[in-house]
Symmetry: D5
Subunit: 121 residues, 10 copies
């Protein structure tokens, strides 16, 4: 299984790199495919980060997330993969992603990942 | 009184075992029986955990929780039993269960359990 | 497939039979079984009626609805069956049931039935 | 069983008797006793009326409703009795009472009564 | 007891007098005095009208309503008086005022008045 | 441009064809493509109908709606096409679809279609 | 005072002109200038219409509404002007605009206009 | 003034005494009497505790709280008295009570007490 | 400009002075005058404190706050003055006041003051 | 590109400079222009600060923010620029700005900046 390419992600220079500040971005229109059932999954991604030298360009973020539209991936995989891609592209001081998926079988799941690893603090 | 078997619970390998991350799963369709009155109880379970080597497979979680459908248990018992079963199956770094039951006699109760024990931190 | 017996339903004499008034009863703890998948369904029943000579006794209503707990029935069947049972037991001037089921596969359904038939008005 | 006396209810002269207008009064602190179990019931009364010559004085309404605090009565009785008492005291052009009681056994009930009788319109 | 003067109310020419359209104005900062207890009352006025030749100027409306700040009046009086003043000033095709007062003694009241009289329709 | 085939839609026999009753189905996970920009659209479909001889089978409805996932269509087209397909498959006594799409450029749109045509009533 | 030109408004052919259906469009980012104080006003426009031969193209609607950004107009004027412009451009069977403005001086106003005139029905 | 007897309170053995876990119980149907005015007070009690050897039995808790129904007590007294009674009966590791009373004279009050005393931590 | 006298404030003896507990009082009906424009301001005061030997009597609190009804004061002044008055009257272990004022010119302000000074902790 | 001048900002003397207290100001009517597309952006600014010797005068704050109405700036720039301007004008002990912008392309962004820099604490 190939993974959506993070090359789509574009960045721009952080206009205030000396200040420690936070950018929260909410993407309620995320959709991917369940690799087992082939059925679509839907969710809301909340991406929070403290930029260092680069900020993620929002249109490229939208296009990158659309790469998952017809891509099969489990909840845990997809959330960790997106964190890895955004960390590689923007090299932030800190980043957290919360991915809240819609209910399946009466159960709903949210995956929360963080960089650097929460346990290393 | 026999207890629902945790053998129903299945796991899959944590795809990102090196990262300390959290999975929240909300199950609003939990129902068991009151052992005193024989009447059904209803509640919402919120299961949060930091996986180590294993993640709980959601369909098996649903089937495991359905084992309580016709099983008599007090609020405190059922919440602690489910924590023990999920800890045994997934051996997580950390797990918390909040079980919020619907009102009875104008009173509603929530039981909150945690592993490892909150007092040992 | 046998149907839950409406004999469980008890009534009491309408204390104000000369007045045309309405009783709304909401039962958010309804559960039955899907006859295809064997999986439990959950829903909220809202029963509204104008009593004639008899009112439905609420504890017997609760016990009657619990008969569906391990009974397989489709949404449309179960809602129509409960209307028929309550109409037979209380012979109301008018009755309506709205049965709102929880989501399955990202889709949620509500069935609304009325007696006498809405088209005959 | 004696009934709370409507003599407690006081009225004042409608200051604009020529205009057809509506007064809605919401009383969320109503409580009475279940005549079967001896347990307290709680509810919210919403009283709407078009006054004719008299308006109900609110402090006397509060005291009248408090008469039910230790009085046993079924939902349907209590709602109809209060309508009868308020109609007798104020002789309104129209009056409606909605009495929404808190859940018992997972079921909640609202009784809606009207004067003159809805069927006579 | 003198009544706040409606001379404060100013109007402007309806810019589209040929069209039947509605203007809703919500004033959540209304306060007057209870003539019995001398205590302040608080409420939200919702004024809806179909203008004919004149619209009410909003700043003058605000000043007119402030005239009630230290003025004693019962709920029913104050609502009817304001309707009379606004009808006299703007001569609308239709006007309705809903005055929703905050709770006193656990009871809250809304008075709804209309011009021309609802019964004459 | 080809249109998703309504052949995917399956029906089952209405279990209570003599009664005039309503089925509401809410599908919050609808997505299609904008034919101009190639960008995905998202929306919630609410389908209400009075069945005659046939009810729509919910799993086939889900699969039919998924046919639009990579299909380009304007809001007005897609809503009317789905109504036509569901009317053809189930021949209902009455059907209404409300399609509420998420905001684009700060503007959000809902399309509401009905069968038989609202103007013919 | 010149008025924003309705020439900016573009239309497309109604794809289902034989069906009587409704399109609701909500524009929460409307802003204009108060002609008296020179201060900006903010509001949410809800445009509902039954199209005849033409539908309004949404991007051109957005651009048309932006023409009011630095344009001075009273609430009543601006709402009626936009209705006239949209009726001229699309010649709908029916159209209604609700313009809900944010509070000024503790008072908030909504203007509701309709075509054809509500009084002519 | 005598105080409701805590002898009504019953306990059962904590089924998991080795685990540090929390039980939250919400009682929205609390009512007592104001000792000054003789008027009823209403409130919602939220009782949270970490049990040691004993848990409070919920039906006896309901009956104990009903003892206050016709008992005069100030907000601060009643909340502290209930904490003392529950601590004496269950000897918990920790307990907190929040008592939120409904508005009187436009003012609403919540009393929050804790055992062991928050200042000793 | 004279300041409302804190002599109106009455206290009663804290019935449980040995326990460190909190009393929250919410007053949503506060109103004062803007000293610049002469226009009324409206707000909600939330007063939280840990009593030492004295509790504030609620009726006297209501009367004290009413002293501001026709008194001109800026948001920052009025909030600090009320804190000073309540601290002087009750000498609490800790007190915080949040004063949330309604919008003016599209901007709304909340002032939060604390005793002893937050910086001294 | 020139930047809106902070000279518009006026201050007044902090009336209680010895106390460490907080002022929260919410401005839901902020609008600027996207420098790339030339389209307007909309957002809500929440400004929180602990004043030292000066407080910001609210009318001048409103006028300063209006300078951005026809000014092109990215989200990150505009938020940081406003923080710099307010810090320069009021020299607060602490200040935080949260700027929550409305959705674009299904994505919404909030920028949170703080002075002094959060990392220096």
């Amino acid at each position: 299984m190939t993974v959506p390419s993070q090359n789509i992600l574009e960045t721009f220079e952080n206009p205030f790199p000396k200040r420690t500040y936070t950018i929260d971005t909410v993407c309620p229109e995320f959709t991917s495919m369940c690799p087992v059932t082939g059925q679509p999954d839907f969710g809301t991604l909340t991406i929070s980060y403290i930029p260092d030298q680069k900020c993620v360009e929002l249109k490229s973020l939208k296009l990158y997330l659309q790469e998952y539209r017809n891509h099969g991936a489990f909840y845990e995989q997809v959330t960790n993969l997106i964190l890895d891609a955004l960390v590689a592209a923007t090299q932030p001081r800190w980043m957290k992603i919360e991915a809240a998926f819609t209910p399946r079988g009466g159960i709903r799941t949210t995956v929360i990942v963080e960089h650097p690893d929460a346990a290393t603090e």
